[in-house]
C-alpha cells in the first residue's frame, strides 16, 4: 500500500544490490522500500553512484537484487517483461537498424503485428524519417524514436534512464513536454531517473531523493503541481526546485 492508502502497482521491498563477491563486494544500495501507484509518475534523483540506474534495471528485470524483491502488477520481477519498456540515455537505438526497424523491435521480437507503429511515428512527427539510420538523426529525433520504440508494445510501465541527458536545453524541454503529454494521454506508470532537478520537478508527481554509497532513500518529496497548466513557468515550480535542491544537498 502507498502512503495515501491506495493500492500500489510497483513494490520495492527491502531491496539490496551489490556488485562483485567476497572482499571485493561493493554495496550499491540497501534496504530500499518504495511503492508506486498505478498511473503515477515518479522521479528518482541522487548523486552519481547512488544506484538509481541499478534500481531502474532491477525494475526492468535486467538485474537481480541480492536481497529483497520487486513486484510489478502483483508479479515478482525476475526477467524483462513485455508490459515494461525502458528508454536509455541516447535512446539506446541500434545503429544498424533504420528508424522503422528500431521502432518495431520489441514487437518483432515477440512476433506481434506492427501495423499501428507507423501511426505512432506520425504522432511523434518522425514518420518521414522511417528509412533513415540513427546516425542521420538529431538528438531530439533519436529520442523520439526511442519513445516510439518504448510505446510500440503499449507498456503499462515506462522506465527512463536519464533519457535527455545528452540533449541541448531547447530540445530537452521540448521532449520533456512530449513525455508529459504522452503520460497525461496514456496514464501509464512511469519511473524517471535523472540528474536534473528541474526535470525531476517537471515530470515527477513524487520525487525520490537517494543518498550515496551505499544508496538508500533519503527523502520523498510530493510534487502536487506536476502536470498542471504552465507548471514550468510558475513560481510554485521554482519553489519546488529550491526545496528539492535543499533535500538533495
Amino acid at each position: 500500500m502507498t502512503q495515501d492508502g491506495s493500492s500500489s502497482y510497483i513494490e520495492l521491498c527491502n531491496l539490496s544490490l551489490a556488485y562483485g563477491s567476497g572482499d571485493a563486494q561493493t554495496l550499491v544500495f540497501e534496504g530500499v522500500n518504495l511503492s508506486v501507484r498505478s498511473g503515477e509518475s515518479v522521479a528518482l534523483i541522487g548523486p552519481s553512484g547512488c544506484g538509481k540506474t541499478s534500481i531502474l534495471f532491477a525494475l526492468s528485470g535486467l538485474l537481480s537484487p541480492n536481497a529483497g524483491h520487486i513486484t510489478v502488477g502483483g508479479d515478482v520481477v525476475e526477467k524483462p517483461r513485455r508490459d515494461v519498456s525502458l528508454i536509455l540515455q541516447d535512446a539506446g537505438l541500434l545503429p544498424w537498424k533504420t528508424v522503422w526497424q528500431n521502432a518495431i523491435l520489441s514487437l518483432k521480437l515477440a512476433g506481434d503485428p506492427t501495423g499501428h507503429v507507423m501511426q505512432q511515428l506520425q504522432e511523434l512527427d518522425i514518420a518521414q524519417l522511417a528509412h533513415r539510420y540513427p546516425s542521420e538523426l538529431s538528438g531530439g529525433q533519436r529520442q523520439r524514436v526511442g519513445i516510439a520504440r518504448a510505446l510500440a508494445a503499449d507498456p503499462s510501465l515506462l522506465l527512463m534512464d536519464e533519457p535527455l541527458a545528452s540533449l541541448d536545453t531547447y530540445t530537452k524541454e521540448h521532449i520533456q513536454n512530449l513525455f508529459l503529454e504522452l503520460w497525461i494521454k496514456r496514464r501509464h506508470t512511469q519511473v524517471l531517473v535523472t540528474h536534473d532537478l528541474e526535470e525531476a520537478v517537471f515530470l515527477g508527481q513524487r520525487i525520490v531523493v537517494l543518498s550515496a554509497s551505499p544508496g538508500g532513500i533519503r527523502t520523498v518529496l510530493d510534487n502536487p503541481g506536476m502536470g498542471t497548466s504552465d507548471w514550468r513557468n510558475s513560481d510554485a515550480f521554482y519553489e519546488q526546485v529550491i526545496q528539492l535542491r535543499k533535500a538533495f544537498q
Binding site: S60, P80, R82, L86, L94, S106, R132, Y133, S135
Partner: protein
C-alpha cells in the same frame, strides 16, 4: 565515379612504375637475367592476349579455391568467434587455446592435409580455410567482446532471448569488423594459394602456371600469371567491399 577515376589513375601509375622497373632493373642489378625477369607491360599484355584461353582455366580454378576457402572460413569462424567473444566464460576457456594455436604457421599443415585429402583439391581449400579462419575468428571474437552495453541492454529489456540477441545485436554489430578481417586476410589467402598450388601441382591454378613457366624461363608468362593473380585478389576485395556496402548500409550514410 570518383572511386572509378581513382582506380584508373592507380592502374596508370602502376603501369608506369612497372615500365620504369623493367627498364632500370638491368642497370641496377648486375645480373644477365635482370634484362629478362621483368618484361615491360606491353610485352606481358600481348602474351596475356595470346594465353587467354589457357589462362582462363587457371584463373577460374584459383578463384574457386579462394572463394570456397573464404565461404567455409566465414561459415565456421564467424559463429565460433561471436560465441567465444560474447560468452565471457567460454572466452576464458577458449582464448588460451586460440592464442596457443594462432602463432603456428598454418602452411606447415599442408603435407598432412595432402595426405588426408589424397592430394585432391580439398587439401588446398582446407589450407586456405584454416589460414582465413583464425583471422576471422579473432576479429569476430574481439568485435563481439566490445559490443556497447547500451545496445545489448536495450534489446534485452525488450524481451529478447539469447538467439534474438545474437541476431539483432551481436552479429550486425560485429559484421563490419568481420568483413574488414576477411578483406585484410585475402592477401594471406593468395600467398597460401600459391604455396598450395606449387607444393603439389593441380591440373589448373595460377600458382602452378607461374612456377611452371618460371622453370621454362618464360618470364612474360610468369608476369602475366602474377598480373592475373593480382586481378583475382582485386576482384575479391571488390566483392567484400560490395558485400559490406550491402550488409552494413548504416556505415555509409
Amino acid at each position: 565515379m570518383k572511386q572509378v577515376l581513382g582506380y584508373l589513375v592507380s592502374v596508370v601509375v602502376l603501369l608506369l612504375l612497372w615500365w620504369l622497373a623493367s627498364a632500370t632493373f638491368p642497370v641496377i642489378f648486375n645480373n644477365p637475367l635482370a634484362q629478362k625477369v621483368l618484361p615491360p607491360p606491353f610485352e606481358v599484355l600481348t602474351m596475356l592476349g595470346k594465353e587467354w584461353s589457357k589462362m582462363g582455366n587457371h584463373f577460374i580454378a584459383s578463384g574457386l579455391r579462394v572463394l570456397w576457402g573464404l565461404l567455409l572460413s566465414l561459415t565456421f569462424a564467424v559463429p565460433a568467434g561471436l560465441i567465444i567473444g560474447f560468452e565471457r566464460r567460454l572466452n576464458q576457456m577458449m582464448s588460451p587455446l586460440v592464442y596457443l594455436t594462432y602463432p603456428v604457421p598454418k602452411v606447415v599443415f599442408l603435407p598432412i592435409l595432402f595426405v588426408l585429402f589424397n592430394l585432391e583439391d580439398g587439401s588446398r581449400i582446407a589450407l586456405i580455410t584454416l589460414v582465413l579462419s583464425f583471422q576471422i575468428l579473432l576479429s569476430a571474437r574481439d568485435a563481439a567482446q566490445n559490443i556497447a552495453a547500451r545496445h545489448t541492454l536495450s534489446v534485452r529489456s525488450a524481451g529478447a532471448n539469447r538467439w534474438q540477441l545474437y541476431a539483432h545485436v551481436v552479429f550486425p554489430a560485429s559484421l563490419p569488423a568481420i568483413l574488414t578481417a576477411a578483406r585484410i586476410s585475402i592477401g594471406l589467402a593468395f600467398a597460401t594459394l600459391y604455396l598450395a598450388e606449387t607444393f603439389v601441382r593441380p591440373r589448373y591454378g595460377l600458382g602452378k602456371y607461374i612456377l611452371e613457366n618460371f622453370q621454362l624461363n618464360g618470364y612474360a608468362k610468369v608476369t602475366a600469371g602474377i598480373l592475373m593473380m593480382g586481378v583475382l585478389g582485386f576482384l575479391f576485395y571488390i566483392l567484400l567491399d560490395l558485400l559490406e556496402r550491402l550488409l552494413c548500409r548504416w556505415k555509409f550514410r
